[in-house]
């Protein structure tokens, strides 16, 4: 079983549109949305949800007012400023339980906290695992781990050789959870100065995971100078550029229709996305 994860560093470079297209080209694979913070892949793949599960990813402290003696010990030791005047702010609480351990009156309870939901769904192109982090919740890395674990289980059960995952933007905790143990990171960038700046950072982060990395330049013809700059940068960072997708409004048209761009049946991006998929397949060794 092989796993591909699409990441980008900078947001909005086209990860989800490309992954949605890959889902239609991959034959049967397990499709996974690791952007649990702002998931969008379901908009293109219209999954039919089969199972919904609650996700208790973190714990939160709770003070029993009848037992609290207002000694202030918990407030003093809380590193997250989550306790003020005997009240816990659940959005600041990280569930570290220091308050629970230090309270001389036994007035603090630590309780599992519902921080999101995850789903197992069917799409036209294969099973899909996705999630929704609750509003104003943290700890998305744990939910990403959960989604990926389920995707691997499904791949084993159904003997599917490939998992394709849409990753979150950035370089922080959910990105790291999306990369751990993957076979290949496809980094989607764009020829903007911001894209260039962020590419260098994400390439270095991905290099720490020992997976195969490759770069795809989306909207490459938006700025040909920056595009060449990215090609040189990638060479210096020793990552191959395996795809160049033109700036093409039909990609947005597909998003507006809620379908993968490959099923739109037109546009300049189609051919290059298919070629990109061939290159990904070669690097992953799935064909």
């Amino acid at each position: 079983m092989k796993e591909l994860t699409i990441i980008s560093g900078k947001g909005g470079t086209g990860k989800t549109s490309i992954l949605g297209a890959f889902a239609t080209l991959a034959g049967k694979s397990v499709i996974c949305d690791c952007d649990v913070d702002a998931a969008n892949l379901h908009i293109l793949l219209q999954p039919n949800i089969k199972e919904t599960h609650d996700f208790y990813g973190e714990k939160k402290a709770e003070i029993v007012p009848e037992l609290c003696t207002n000694c202030g010990k918990c407030e003093e030791l809380c590193q997250f400023q989550a306790i003020q005047q005997g009240q816990i702010n659940p959005y600041a609480c990280e569930g570290c339980a220091v308050c629970y351990h230090v309270c001389p009156a036994g007035a603090v309870n630590i309780k599992p906290h519902l921080s999101g939901q995850w789903y197992i769904s069917e799409t036209k192109w294969g099973p899909m695992v996705h999630a929704k982090l609750g509003i104003a919740q943290g700890n998305s890395g744990l939910l990403v781990n959960m989604v990926r674990k389920k995707a691997r289980e499904i791949a084993r059960e159904q003997s599917l050789p490939l998992i394709i995952s849409d990753g979150p933007p950035g370089i922080g905790c959910p990105v790291i959870s999306s990369l751990a143990g993957t076979d290949m990171a496809l980094i989607v960038t764009e020829p903007t100065v911001s894209g260039i700046h962020d590419l260098e950072r994400i390439v270095k982060v991905a290099a720490g995971f020992g997976c195969v990395s490759a770069v795809c330049i989306n909207k490459y013809n938006l700025d040909e100078y920056n595009c060449r700059y990215i090609e040189d940068l990638a060479e210096r960072l020793q990552v191959p550029v395996i795809g160049r997708i033109p700036y093409d409004l039909t990609v947005t048209e597909a998003v507006l229709q809620g379908i993968p761009v490959t099923t739109l049946g037109k546009g300049d991006a189609q051919g290059p996305i298919q070629e990109l998929w061939q290159q990904v397949g070669n690097l992953l060794g799935v064909r």
Binding site: A38, N40, Y91
Partner: protein, 282 residues
């Protein structure tokens, strides 16, 4: 006045709006401070051509063991909620990447064998690209947890200035840390189902935090009214529209702020500020 710029979805134009707003206000001789709180991928300095003249390292405490005192009781591993310490025979293994720096282990060690030591998690760079004061956070590569770096940037807030905060994408902890306690949040989105989906998440997050918000529609196309309909239903003001134009995208690609590639935008950004100020007062 503290104005945050956030979006839910990445790549919708947060930095474009934050930098052009800051430049327009600075040209009116107003004191402006721009805080780049997108510490995973900070980009505002590129548009302001800012050379930082001071840098501070952001540290978080992580535990260090004194084997002369350790009794190998395993209490630290037991109390750690993040599995950041494991006791293996006569060695304590500490995993700094998953440590939340809560202090549980060093507060609760019965032998006082653990003490906090500083671990670098990022930097805060300060610079003046006259007359804008820019503060940028930068998460150290490979580090998991970005909110402490966001907090370190926000500790530099200058109350005498109009503070503009360029936030990270998404709607979980890094964004919440960037927008909490601000007077207003400008949400930048695009008129697609992706833009709408993530806008809804960001609006719900802001309601929990009690931060009022309005919307800037970027890559606006006449007739594509998916965002307008949502805003109308929710009673959210549409503060500004930036049309879908290849020349805007090309200038952005080169790192030229919108108000510099097309100076007619200055008046529109000042008007945006006036509208936000008006919303805050009401």
């Amino acid at each position: 006045m503290r104005i945050a710029v956030a979006s839910g979805k990445g790549g919708t134009g947060k930095t474009l709006v934050a930098t052009s707003l800051a430049i327009s206000l600075a040209e009116q001789k107003k004191p402006v401070q721009l805080l780049d709180c997108d510490v995973e991928e900070p980009n505002a300095h590129i548009f302001l051509k800012n050379k930082p003249n001071a840098e501070e390292t952001v540290f978080l405490p992580i535990p260090q063991v004194d084997y002369g005192l350790c009794q190998y009781c395993g209490k630290c591993a037991e109390v750690c909620q993040f599995n950041a310490i494991a006791l293996m025979k006569r060695t304590l293994v500490i995993f700094p990447d998953v440590c939340h720096s809560c202090g549980g282990c060093w507060h609760l060690c019965p032998a006082d064998a653990l003490k906090p030591v500083a671990r670098e998690v990022g930097t805060v760079e300060m610079g003046q690209s006259d007359p804008i004061k820019l503060v940028s956070g930068r998460l150290k590569l490979g580090t998991h947890i970005s909110p402490p770096v966001v907090k370190a940037v926000r500790e530099k807030e200058d109350p005498a200035s109009i503070i503009i905060i360029d936030g990270p994408p998404g709607s979980s902890c890094p964004v919440m840390t960037a927008v909490a306690g601000t007077d207003y949040c400008i949400l930048v989105t695009e008129p697609t189902p992706f833009g709408l989906n993530d806008l809804v998440l960001a609006v719900e997050m802001l309601r929990v935090l009690g931060v009022p918000c309005g919307v800037v529609i970027n890559r606006d196309v006449p007739g594509q009214d998916i965002i307008d309909r949502y805003c109308e239903m929710q009673g959210l003001p549409v503060l500004m529209r930036i049309p879908l134009q290849t020349q805007i995208a090309r200038a952005y690609a080169k790192g030229i702020p919108l108000v510099e590639s097309d100076p007619t935008w200055r008046a529109k950004f000042l008007e945006l500020y006036q509208r936000v100020a008006g919303e805050v007062v009401s």
